[in-house]
Structures are given as C-alpha cells and as structure tokens.
C-alpha cells in the first residue's frame, strides 16, 4: 500500500519509494541513509504524537511529521 511516512503507525514497516522534497532536507535524509528502497520501521510516537522515532539502518531517528509527510513509502510486512 502506497502512503507517506507520517501515516505509518507504531510497529508498522515500510520501504521508501521516493523523497518528495528538495534542498537541505533531502541531502540531510540521504546522509542518514534514507534513499529509495530503504527499509524503515515506525518505533514510537512521542507523547504528543509528533515527532516519531523510526528505526533506519540500525539507528533510531526522530522526524517531525511536517518533514515525514514528504517521504513516500510502500507499507510492507516487518521481517
């Protein structure tokens, strides 16, 4: 199912299909290893629901929803 990263629920997994932003943030995300095909797992929402911690390539990254909604993902079964 095609969706965006911010809509992933705790415990769900997905892989990135495209980064729909430009400039500094796109660069920054790629530095952290977020590119097309990268597997992500939604680990934990903050008590207020935003930001959300994702597990990416063995590290934990917190993203604000205002940013993660520009990351298109395909939901998949967690391995």
């Amino acid at each position: 199912m095609e969706t965006t990263l911010n809509l992933l629920r705790e415990g769900q997994c997905a892989h990135i299909t495209s980064l729909q932003m430009r400039g500094a943030m796109r660069r920054r995300l790629m530095d952290f290893g977020l590119i097309e095909g990268t597997h992500v797992r939604c680990l934990r929402e903050s008590p207020c629901g935003d930001p959300v911690i994702y597990c990416v390539r063995g590290t934990m990254l917190a993203l604000r929803k205002q940013d993660s909604r520009y990351i298109a993902v395909e939901v998949e079964e967690c391995s």
Partner: protein, 614 residues
C-alpha cells in the same frame, strides 16, 4: 611531527578515543554534536610524537552545517598525514557512509571500528578482515572506553604515516558531490548502497534490535503516560540530592573559612598592617572569594556530576524528543532542548552549543533565549533563597520549588522563542533530524572523579579571577564615603525606587548590576551592601540568612529576587560569547534586553499583585 585527523559521525566515541590517545580531558557526552570546535592534542607512540585533531562530528561531508564544513575543509587541505575514520560497530552501515566519503577525499586512511564492546553486548559481530579486504585500507577494531585496540590502531596509523601500509582504497573516484543536484543525489545514494553492501558482508546480528535494553528502557522513559512524569521525577531527584547533599560540605567549608579568616585577621594585627589595607584584603578580597566558594561549590560539585551521568546515559536526546512538540509550536528547533540543558551548566557553553542547530533563524532563537535557564552560577543562589523563605527546612520541598523554577524557565524560554519567531525572527520551523543514541552505562567512577574535580577547579578559578578583584572593588565602594555616606549605599539609594517597583530593593538591584561579570557574585555583593562591607565570618548560609532577616527581608523580596535571578541580563562572559557567535551588536544587545524585559515585567506584575492582595 605527523598530523592525524579523527573524523566520524557524531556520538561514535570519537572524543573518547581522542582522550584515550592523548590523555587529554575533553568532555564527552552521549549525544550527537558535543564537539563543536577542533580539539587538538599530542600523543607519543614508539618514540614518535603525533599531533591529533578531533574534527567535529559530521553525518556527511557534503551537507552544509558549520561543523561539516569544518570537517570537509580540514580533510581537503588540512595536510593530515593520516586520517582515522571512526565508525560505530553498533550501526556500521550508517557510519560507513561517512568513511566512504572520507576515502574519496584522502587515500591515507585508517578505518577504526569503535564501540566493539557495546556491539558485542548487543549481539553484533564485525568481520574485520573481510571489511579490510573490501575497503582496501587498514581496518582496526577498538573499544576506546576500555582502551582496547589502541596500540593496534596506532601501529596502523604509523605505517600509513610512514608510507608502509599497502593502500589500495576501493573507491569510486567520483568525488563527494556532483556538478548538479541530480548528480549529487546519485553520488550520495551510491555511498549509501555501498555502505549497505559492505555491512551486509561483514556484520552479523545474533539478536534482533527490538529486544535490546534501549528498546525496553524507551518503552518506559518515552511512554505516552509515564514519559513526562519520569522526566519531572528525575529532575526533582537531582535537585533533592543537590540540596540535601550540599548541606554537609557547605558547613565544613564554612567552618574552615571562618577559622582561616580569624587566623588571617590575627596575623594582620600582629604584623601591624594598616587597618585599611587589612580591611580591603580580608573583608573585601578574602570574604568575597570565600563566600563564592563556600556557597557555590558544594551544590555545583553535586549537581554537575549527576547531570553528567544523565548525559552519559543518553537521556538528553530523549528530553529533546519529549519536548520537541512544544518547541515546534514555538517555531523553534527541537535541538534547542539540548542547548537549553547545556545552559544549565553554563550559559556561555549553551550559546556556543547552539552551533548544533543548522538553520540560522532557529539558531539565533536558541542563542537569544539561552540565558532564560539558570546556569550553575545562579543555582546555588536560588537554592539559598528558596531555603531561606520557602522550603521550611525540608530539602524535598526545596527541590520541588526549584523544579517549579526550572519549569517556569522552560515555559518562558518557549514564550520568548515564540515571541521571537512571531516578530524579529519570523519564519516556519525548518526540518531537522534528531538521532536517538542507544543508552550507555555511565562510567560512574570516572564521571564522579572528573566532574567533581573539574567543577572544583572551575569554581576556585572563578573565585580567584572574578570574585577576588570584584571583592576589592566592592569593598572600596562600601568604604569610600565622600559625603559621609559610602558610595555603595548612595548607589543603592538611587536604585531603591526602581528596585522597590520590582518587588526588591536598591541593594538587590545594585548587586545584580554589579554582579554582571559573574552571577556567583550577586549574593556576596548584596551581603557587602547590607553590612557596609565589614563582616568577617559571614560566609555561612546561616549568617547570611541573619543578615537578610535583619535587613527586613520578607518572602516577597525572596520571590521577586528568585524571579529576577531567573530572568535578567546574562553575565559578561555569555554576552561576549553571544557576540562571537552572532557577530552582531544588535543581537547581543537583544540577548541582554530580552530576558531583562521578561524579568522586569514579571517582577513588577508580581509586586503589584502582592501589593493589591496583602
């Protein structure tokens, strides 16, 4: 002397490695971005001297945060004979991305896989020979914290420096950025995919990441229901230990200073030193320095190690995570929680730490609001005032009031941030990524010894450099009386009306103004102003309480003074640092005016409310 550069992601133990190699004492902490400046040190290996440069942690050499630019330009033109690319064995895939970029810039490279001990505990093993074959440069496994693998590392570094190591770096030769965005994207993706491939071939996981201790702790510490509660309890606990624990060493120090003061007085009389000189030296210089040390040292020496333990443990980024929602609503960066926490130690350090925030607008907000959190120079004074008027002798109640003070500080930081992002620093919050490091077992012994010693030296240093000369000036002002009234008293009288409008009095306001070189000085100056500068033996908190009570001090003065302590102009050091960081007189001025305006409005309002209802 040959030059070695250490490069790596933030929080991979680069500074720990640097300290272990150089025997230096650069502060490390378990959160990304601790090192913001180039640190340099020396080390000897097999009779040869090497100069080491610890580059600021960077996630990439391509992006444009200030620390990444520093790292990139140093690697390009710094003239290092060997670069050590430090990687984190617990997340090798991510940290190899940077190592691959470094490899594009320099062939003289040793890849150091650090945190091997931690990886082992989490069931991760790394096949070092396999990695070395694939990369074509020397690869060494280390655990900097346990000082293991350091000799092997230096051996490889030596052979690279001397040109003996067989270097056939397996690199793409495409540089680290392309001629246009599309090409740069492709290059960036290539590094990521190559790192992924390397990690797949050399890393073996035994346990799944989810069952780790970090996940279990996060389930509790970042929980929807308990997260905020635990954060408050931790804060309360630290304050309680600080207040309760500071009593005993304080009493001990006061006893010592009293005895020493008496001895010095007797000595001065025996030597027939003129009364003016003896007064200036003993009642001015000695008494002020002694008060600063006796009142300030114990709380600092307890609070700081506790705080450092939390930092080592990895809790600070969690605070940033929990608080981020508030900062986003205030138009600020979530990393501002980190700089705010650094401000608790020292506002000047907090202002420098704001470099971890990339976007200029958010960084300025963080710089301008840093003084809203009480630094270590203000904490002991706050504790003293709370103990005097509000805690009724109970350390727990005192800790509660102090926690409330800090909450007020954070609230006002958010309010000021929001005000700034609605007015002079208008804009939407920019995007950012916050990395959550795994929890690490704090090195309790080391932290205690180091931070108690560092704090003690810091306070003693300040006592000599700032408090002693200030003591002399204040004593002179308290004793030079051109028209029969000492200058200090006349100044206090002039300031009395504005002071009273703010719920304090002229002497307190004068103490705040004269205390601008260092906040530690405010209380000692106040004592001097109230006692006309001649009262040896008033170092103890009990004696200070008596002086205040005799001067008609009530809970209203305490309350307003506490508020003004929280919100007034930053000390000179912080202002100078602000100027250095912003390079603008306008912003530096605003950094002084903003907290002062908040303090004045709050105190005046409080004074009015108290006046109307009592």
């Amino acid at each position: 002397m040959q030059l070695i550069a250490l490069a790596g992601n933030p929080n991979v133990g680069k500074s720990t490695l640097f300290n272990a190699l150089t025997g230096m004492n650069q502060h490390t902490g378990n959160w990304p971005g601790k090192t913001v400046e180039l640190a340099q040190g020396h080390c000897r290996y097999k009779g040869r001297a090497y100069q080491l440069v610890d580059l600021p942690g960077a996630y990439s050499l391509v992006s444009h945060s200030p620390e990444e630019e520093v790292a990139e330009s140093f690697l390009r033109d710094g003239g290092a004979d060997c670069t050590v690319a430090v990687c984190d064995a617990t997340c090798l895939e991510r940290s190899l991305i940077l190592a691959l970029q470094v490899m594009e810039l320099t062939p003289h490279l040793v890849v150091c896989i650090n945190l091997m001990d931690e990886a082992k505990r989490s069931g991760i093993s790394v096949d070092i020979p396999a990695l070395e074959r694939q990369l074509g440069v020397p690869v060494v496994a280390t655990s900097a914290q346990e000082e293991s693998g350091l000799d092997a590392l230096m051996e490889r570094v030596r052979s690279v420096c001397d040109g003996y190591a067989p270097l056939q770096p397996n690199r793409c030769g495409c540089g680290i950025r392309g001629e246009n965005d599309r090409r740069s994207d492709a290059i960036a993706a290539q590094f990521v995919l190559r790192a992924q491939e390397l990690a797949q071939r050399s890393v073996h996981h035994e346990k799944s990441v989810q069952s780790s201790t970090t996940a279990k702790l996060d389930r509790f510490l970042l929980n929807r229901r308990s997260g905020y509660g635990v954060m408050l309890l931790l804060l309360l606990g630290i304050f309680w230990l600080t207040i309760e624990g500071a009593n005993y060493p304080s009493a001990g120090l006061q006893w010592c200073f009293d005895r020493l003061g008496e001895l010095l007085h007797r000595g001065a009389q025996a030597l027939h030193i003129p009364a003016t000189v003896a007064g200036a030296l003993l009642d001015g210089v000695y008494a002020t320095a002694a008060r600063v040390v006796a009142v300030m040292l114990p709380p600092m020496a307890i609070f700081f190690p506790l705080f450092t333990l939390m930092e080592d443990f990895g809790y600070l980024p969690r605070v940033a995570f929990l608080m981020d929602d508030r900062f986003r609503r205030a138009g600020a960066c979530g990393k501002q929680s980190l700089t705010l926490c650094m401000g608790l130690g020292c506002n000047a350090a907090g202002v420098t730490g704001c470099r971890i925030i990339d976007p200029r607008r958010e960084r300025l907000i963080a710089v301008l609001t840093n003084a809203f959190v009480p630094c270590n120079g203000r904490f002991p004074a706050l504790i003293f005032l709370i103990t005097l008027s509000f805690s009724d002798g109970s350390a727990l109640l005192g800790a509660g009031v102090l926690t409330l003070c800090l909450l007020l500080s954070v609230f006002m930081t958010l309010a000021a941030s929001k005000l700034l992002s609605r007015t002079v620093l208008r804009g939407e919050p920019s995007s950012f990524v916050l990395e959550m490091p795994p929890y690490r077992k704090p090195r309790i012994g080391q932290v205690l010894v180091r931070s108690v010693r560092d704090r003690t030296l810091f306070v003693l240093g300040r006592a000599v450099v700032v408090a002693a000369p200030a003591g002399l000036v204040i004593w002179l002002l308290a004793n030079i009386a051109p028209n029969g009234t000492p200058l200090l008293q006349s100044a206090a009288a002039i300031l009395d009306t504005p002071g009273r409008l703010l719920g304090m009095n002229g002497a307190i306001l004068l103490a705040f103004i004269m205390g601008c070189p260092a906040n530690e000085l405010v209380l000692p100056i106040l004592m001097m102003a109230l006692t006309s500068g001649s009262l040896i033996g008033a170092e103890s908190t009990a004696a200070m309480s008596q002086i205040l009570t005799a001067a008609g001090w009530s809970w209203k003065e305490s309350l307003c003074t506490i508020i003004f302590f929280l919100f007034h102009w930053p000390c000179t050091t912080t202002l100078l640092t602000t100027f250095r960081e912003t390079k603008s007189k306008k912003w530096t001025l605003l950094a002084a005016v903003l907290p002062t305006a908040f303090g004045c409005v709050l105190c005046a309002a409080l004074n009015l409310i108290i006046f109307l209802f009592t």
